[in-house]
Assembly symmetry: C2
Homo-oligomer: 392 residues x 2
């Protein structure tokens, strides 16, 4: 699957390219030949777009893989604006002297398979036809996503990852790494993720997909990049944003405040029905932003991978799957998360421990809901530091 | 507003028409001349469709008004199938010997203003144009809905209602009755309703409206009755159904079970993306059913009335509004309800009591979420019986 490489040579090349002092941001790509898929079939050629920070050491044992959430990308840290928490999605956690200390670790983050930020996905050209895959893209799974990351990690010459860490579907990926490649993952941080989604979360995702596919511009997925179902995708995002937050934080932020800005258009340009609430303008805005930066078909595929993820798939039982974990594992739940409820995260941690694994559970005490892993920098640092700092 | 009527004559006529022994179901209508609206403007002519059970006594003091939820209608009881809990939406609670004992009470339920079951709403003819109102229908409020009901109640010659009871937006109406017409309401049961919606609930409603308006068949509301935005309305209903249930009951019912029936079409006829979950088929089915029985524009208006409801509107403060209540008041919350969280219902009850009102709070211990007031017959009977049976 991955072309054989001579590790030392490759390492020199890598470190020359990925200097820890790199002032700017650079996205690299790695392409390999084929990927067999969990549901059958294969992708003939797979490209992953990735970024790295820090340097891989001579032993190639200081690599940390960061896995991103549904609409995220490889840009977890921004070298040019390291102090802007929004410039890279985990900016405050990655860098010299930070939790993921780039003077010590070689931090890797790649855009997921199925994504639309440079990795192979529905917008990529199907080599068999010369046209974009669109809805001919295969139904990929978290395991496929992780197996593609594995190819990238092997390409770096890394035989054991110091850590895999991610939140939401990034947490699903982290868990999947620990189960699929138990000997390769020293430590794992599974944040705001569970063994499998609840029926309620699947239902929320399905409403989102239906909104996208209802948009007449979706056209069965056969839209041109600049003529996509923006309104449908924006509506999907509006709903997703509700599930990423909590009743508590929405009351704090919006309550029943009237909109101060009624110029933000509703996704489909529909008229207001009476007075607009602030929360509505906010959601329109969030929806419109996503529609400008994300591919609707990618959204369909990745949210489906989120639904279908079940760590036990392919094993005789959940216990059998979880018993494979060899990593020191940290599970982080969020008090106010209703998409991946903390009680399920805690249950998973306790299950792993009951099966003999080295698992710890920490709960973020945050009103921010699921989004807390992208907002509560201090609590995140405290929670993760206990596993990052600890010697294996 | 309401034509003056001679009460005794009218009462005789009423009881002749609304016999408590009526074997079948009959929907009546009452039309009155004009209704001034809370947001300004007026409706020139208003018709309410209603049903009644039992007989109004000579003192006209045994009338109970039942108020329905968002997509409900006047058919709270079914005389022909009194033992089918689904034949009338509160069937198990209404009838001879039941909670709302029709051998004792004259029970009235009318379809709300803005509805599509015979009452004036967006599908009605606009007398000014001779065409259906559609989106020219005014943005009505819960107060308008209640004031229209008041006209109907006065038409019956009822000067004091023995009770007003309803759940969800029926509970908003019940509360509004107690505040707007304090001298007319002996007892009130506000079930799974609060003083005003949370930002989260408004947000869920707005996503639903956006889905309807995204459907190309919506056409700005100008669709023919049999060519409406069924897919958009079905998607709205899918989301609504999630908010009416709870994570807990959805895990009990669906968890991650695969669909046993994959023939139920998705609202827009979109293809499945990988294996379908049972919860998805269920939601498609529920969505499709609603699209066949409900008007999309009505849905927009009524869900907006739900959002905009704030019992304090028009009063100097919330306290000032709630201090008007003279009724014996029962507030019923549902443990697992996240649309109208129990903690907010309890807060409202305590607020009324703190202001000197006669308020009791009861919580249904149910996993069914918001829907519990349409499912937990035994708990509902127990909860409401304490106010129904109690002498004023």
């Amino acid at each position: 699957m991955v072309a054989q490489v001579e590790y030392s040579t490759q390492l020199d090349t890598l470190n020359a390219r990925h200097s820890q002092h790199a002032p700017g941001n650079q996205v690299f790509t790695y392409t390999f030949d084929s990927l067999l898929l969990q549901n059958g079939g294969q992708l003939a050629s797979v490209t992953l777009a990735y970024e790295t920070w820090g340097s891989l050491n001579a032993e190639a044992d200081n690599a940390v893989l960061i896995t991103h959430a549904l609409t995220g990308n490889a840009h977890a840290r921004d070298n040019e604006r390291p102090d802007d928490p929004k410039a890279g999605w985990w900016n405050p956690l990655i860098g010299p002297g930070r939790l993921f200390d780039t003077s010590r670790y070689f931090v890797i983050c790649s855009n997921v398979l199925g994504g639309c930020y440079g990795s192979t996905g529905p917008t990529s050209l199907n080599p068999a036809t010369g046209h974009p895959y669109r809805m001919d893209f295969p139904v990929v799974t978290m395991r496929d996503i992780v197996r593609a990351q594995h190819a990238l990690v092997e390409h770096f010459g890394v035989r054991e990852l110091a850590m895999v860490a991610g939140g939401s579907i990034g947490g699903q990926q982290a868990l999947e790494w620990a189960v699929t490649y138990p000997e390769m993952v020293q430590k794992v941080a599974v944040i705001a993720a569970t063994a499998a989604l609840t029926a309620q979360a699947i239902a929320f995702n399905e409403v989102q997909r239906q909104a996208i596919m209802l948009d007449p511009l979706w056209q069965g997925g056969n839209y041109e990049p600049d003529r996509g179902p923006d309104a449908g995708l924006a509506i999907a995002r509006m709903l997703a944003m509700i599930t990423y937050q909590s009743e508590e934080i929405m009351e704090q932020r919006f309550a029943r405040k009237p909109a101060w800005n009624t110029t933000t258009p509703a996704p489909g340009g529909s008229p207001d029905l009476g007075k607009r609430f602030d929360v509505e303008s906010y959601l329109y805005h969030q929806g419109n932003i996503l529609a400008r930066r994300f591919d609707a078909n990618s959204y369909l595929y990745l949210s489906r991978a989120m639904d279908s993820y079940d760590v036990s798939e392919g094993y005789p039982s959940l216990d059998a799957a979880l018993r494979r974990i060899r990593s020191k594992a940290l599970f982080v739940g969020i008090r106010s998360d209703f998409l991946f409820p903390a009680v399920h995260v805690r249950w998973l941690a306790e299950k792993v421990r009951a099966l003999g694994g080295d698992a710890t559970y920490v709960e973020l005490d945050s009103p921010h809901g699921h989004d807390a892993f992208l907002k509560e920098w201090e609590q995140m640092t405290d929670a993760l530091d206990r596993i990052v700092s600890e010697e294996r």
